[in-house]
């Protein structure tokens, strides 16, 4: 049995310790917001936060995550209201939407570490996330907006 903490909830899973975290989250725990895209850390569709870092869950063995803090897209915010989620909605970013769980999870790390990112920062942070629908320009716009929302949010606190 492996003890996992996903979205602040404790799980005990019976899985091969070598099983990638992605499949544990999707097939055993049943949270399907985290996506399979490539299986080899090329596309970023499977990004979850492991102790706050944007790990590619498709190549992260579940054993690495044991006892650590895991956050998936479902747990990023209570009510779809993380600044990145709000901005994604405001800028109409998704088309098919499949990659955006990963995109948003990546953006969230950027926004935490660089609250006022430049275009260059966005490129550096988001280059690991592929979007086949080509929503990249809107992702950029939404991250700038999210940064602004985040600033307003912290100013009002």
């Amino acid at each position: 049995m492996i003890n996992l903490n996903v979205n602040q909830k404790a799980y005990q899973v019976d899985a091969d310790p070598n099983m990638p975290l992605l499949w544990v989250i999707r097939d055993i725990i049943g949270l399907t917001g985290t996506k399979y895209g490539c299986g080899v850390a090329q596309c970023g569709a499977c990004v979850v936060h492991l102790n706050g870092e944007a790990v590619r869950s498709c190549v992260t063995k579940v054993s690495r995550a044991e006892g650590q803090k895991i956050v998936t897209i479902e747990g990023l915010s209570k009510d779809n209201n993380h600044p990145a989620q709000v901005a994604w909605n405001e800028e109409n970013v998704p088309q098919c939407g499949y990659c955006h769980s990963g995109q948003i999870m990546s953006a969230a790390v950027l926004l935490r570490e660089k609250p006022n990112p430049t275009d260059e920062d966005i490129d550096s942070a988001m280059a690991g996330n592929i979007c086949r629908c080509g929503t990249y320009l809107r992702i950029r716009k939404a991250i700038h907006l999210a940064a602004e929302l985040q600033r307003k949010e912290s100013a009002s606190k």
Binding site: V40, A54, V59, S124, A125, G128
Partner: protein
């Protein structure tokens, strides 16, 4: 021209500070040489464990040439790029998705090395190779291999301003550093360095203990 080696109490530094130093980087205290000479020996550090230095410029340069073939192989050079983006593959192409070095060499934001590079190699072809301490040299000590001539590289390796102030002993020990060894465990489908680790280590130590002469030329 010889200069006294620097000595710093490297081992008293926090573990993190040590850890940020990359492959072949934890080398202390070997000074630069005069630029006007064609071959220059290095002196040992008198303040640490005594090292036997038997100067032999011919043997030293010969050993370095072997060392150089290893350092310039894809397995070593890929993480010692001339820019801030690592290289990848046997062809040493720019790393897809352009991960950035970052201040500590461990990437930036959502693109930190360890987000994909696990503690061990991920099974399969074209999967991220792994190491618990995967990183590039840090921003303040980039230790570039890519594009360096043998002479430039030799001088850089022993220049304390470029190598992070390591002493001779640490230089020698560095041959067994975890990330150095990772070059010989590169994951499926990747070419090994051009000689065994034992042969490399022998050449490395020979180069250093015969005076760390830099080859002639540019």
């Amino acid at each position: 021209m010889k200069k006294q080696l620097h000595h710093k109490k490297r081992y008293l530094l926090p573990l993190r500070a040590v850890a940020v130093i990359g492959f072949l980087l934890s080398m202390v205290g070997i000074m630069a040489f005069g630029l006007n000479k064609k071959t220059e020996p290095i002196a040992g550090d008198t303040k640490t464990k005594p090292l036997v230095i038997k100067k032999d410029s011919v043997a030293s340069v010969k050993a370095f040439k072997q060392v150089y073939t290893v350092l310039m192989s894809a397995r070593c050079m890929n993480c010692h790029p001339s820019g801030n983006i690592p290289l990848q593959g046997d062809e040493s192409q720019l790393h897809t998705m352009s991960p950035q070095r970052g201040i500590d060499g461990k990437g930036v934001y959502a693109m930190k090395c360890a987000n994909c590079h696990q503690a061990t190699n991920t099974p399969g072809l074209h999967t991220p190779p792994g190491n618990p301490n995967w990183h590039l040299p840090p921003a303040d000590m980039k230790m570039v291999f890519q594009g360096k001539t043998p002479r430039q590289l030799a001088k850089q390796l022993i220049n304390p301003k470029q190598n992070g102030n390591k002493n001779m002993q640490q230089l020698i020990e560095h041959a067994d550093d975890g990330l150095v060894l990772a070059g010989w465990n590169p994951g499926e489908g990747r070419t090994l360095p051009p000689m065994s680790h034992a042969a490399f280590k022998k050449a490395w130590i020979t180069w250093l203990t015969t005076g760390a002469y830099a080859p002639k030329g540019k």
